[in-house]
């Protein structure tokens, strides 16, 4: 790309709202994987890379692996890799297997839609797969805070093509937002917009009219997205995902790791807690004195708190998880109360330790 082209692209981006902060996708470089870096035996809705959800329904006996890969195009270090680990060649008619990122409504306040002369947005990303051909891609817009799967949510099905097997390709697609004036803009921390990339769709999940806005009705794609889970040879890599205002795909907006991590922690966070206290007598269920408040970086909404290791109790140098119960309550966007109980007594300096994952995804 020439310097003149670079400058023209940057100028266009500035006109569209600024040189930085223009990517509405969080973790587009697939660098943040707080939950782990390799996953198997996944069903339904699952998160692997932060902010990217995988929806796998009616997959029969098939299975897939999702992982953070270092296979990446020039200028990137990571990608999100999917591979089929157990094939089921009898694809269910209702099979759906797609990647999605939902965006908060308040993060798209600056976009014009549901009015005459709406804005255009441009989606760009890098893909690599063993399987060439057409793939489905949807853009969704909430109608009056409808959830992403609600029948009233507006959907723009479109397609993209992978031309060469096992080769990184950059995909770009410009979409004019919905000009229908019958809908109501979403607000606040609710679902606002989503980008969807399909890897498989059964026959009942195909047939949507391409390149036109319509009500969601049933989740569908505009093309037979194939059957990713039909062969253990199949793999799919994704990185460099960007969604920006305007009709030009500008260079990917790289940001420092800490900035991306903090953005992700608005939706998912993993924390460890430890509390020491001196007891002259006993700590047990009748004397549940290990009550304390925990604070954390404010999240999108009051998060679900999952203890992901057993709460451990330590006394006189001996640590155990037996007879120990952790109860959590009064959960707000930035704090919760924890109550540690033990059914057998302990004394001296005792220690409660546990780990939580806090989930506030859309």
């Amino acid at each position: 790309m020439s310097r003149a082209r670079d400058i023209a692209d940057l100028a266009g981006s500035a006109d569209a709202g600024g040189l930085t902060g223009r990517n509405l996708i969080i973790n587009g470089a697939l660098s943040i994987f707080q939950r782990g870096t390799s996953f198997t035996s996944q069903t339904g809705v699952a998160y692997h890379a932060d902010r990217f959800e995988t929806q796998a329904y009616n997959v029969g006996t098939s299975d897939y692996k999702a992982e953070q890969s270092t296979e990446a195009p020039d200028g990137f270090y990571n990608s999100l890799k999917y591979s089929c680990t157990t094939a089921d060649t009898s694809q269910d008619a209702d099979n759906q297997f797609y990647i999605q990122q939902q965006i908060e409504a308040q993060n798209i306040y600056h976009l014009k839609f549901y009015e005459a002369n709406p804005d255009s947005v441009t989606i760009s990303f890098y893909v690599r797969s063993n399987t060439t051909g057409s793939y489905g891609m949807n853009l969704k817009l909430s109608d009056n805070n409808s959830s992403d799967g609600n029948v009233g949510t507006r959907v723009y099905p479109t397609t993209f093509t992978i031309s060469s097997a096992d080769t990184w390709e950059k995909i770009t697609k410009t979409i004019t937002l919905d000009s229908s004036t019958s809908e109501t803009r979403p607000t606040g921390n609710n679902f606002g917009m989503a980008l969807v990339i399909w890897l498989a769709a059964g026959s009942n999940r195909q047939g949507a009219t391409a390149n036109a806005w319509a009500d969601n009705a049933n989740t569908t794609t505009a093309v037979d997205a194939g059957d990713f889970l039909g062969s253990t040879s199949n793999n799919f890599h994704l990185t460099g995902v960007q969604l920006e205002v305007g009709s030009t795909a500008t260079p990917f907006e790289h940001e420092d790791f800490g900035t991306t991590l903090r953005k992700c922690q608005r939706y998912y966070n993993r924390l460890g807690f430890m509390r020491h206290q001196f007891y002259s007598s006993s700590l047990n269920s009748a004397n549940p004195d290990l009550v304390h408040s925990v604070t954390f970086t404010p999240m999108r909404d009051n998060p679900t708190a999952n203890p992901y290791t057993d709460a451990a109790y330590s006394s006189s140098g001996s640590t155990t998880t037996s007879s120990t119960t952790l109860t959590l309550g009064a959960i707000s966007i930035s704090s919760l109360n924890a109550l540690m109980q033990r059914s057998t007594s302990g004394a001296g300096v005792v220690k409660a330790q546990y780990y939580l994952e806090l989930v506030s995804e859309l």
Binding site: T304, L328, L336, S360
Partner: protein
């Protein structure tokens, strides 16, 4: 999302603001907040008659 149990949690005797649920095999503490995806799913299943939330102990 498979939810196999749900029970209101009262913390320090206060009014319940949390539900302890088993979601996809894991124990979760779900705030009673309309913007929380797990609470929304719990209430959807309660409305559909497929899930009952037990009283607090």
């Amino acid at each position: 999302m498979e939810i196999t149990s749900a029970q209101y949690i009262k913390f320090d005797g206060e009014e319940a603001t949390t539900i302890k649920a088993t979601i996809d095999g894991k124990i979760s503490f779900v705030p009673m907040s309309n913007g929380n995806m797990h609470y929304a799913e719990i209430m959807r299943q309660v409305k559909a008659g497929t899930l009952t939330i037990a009283d607090a102990d």
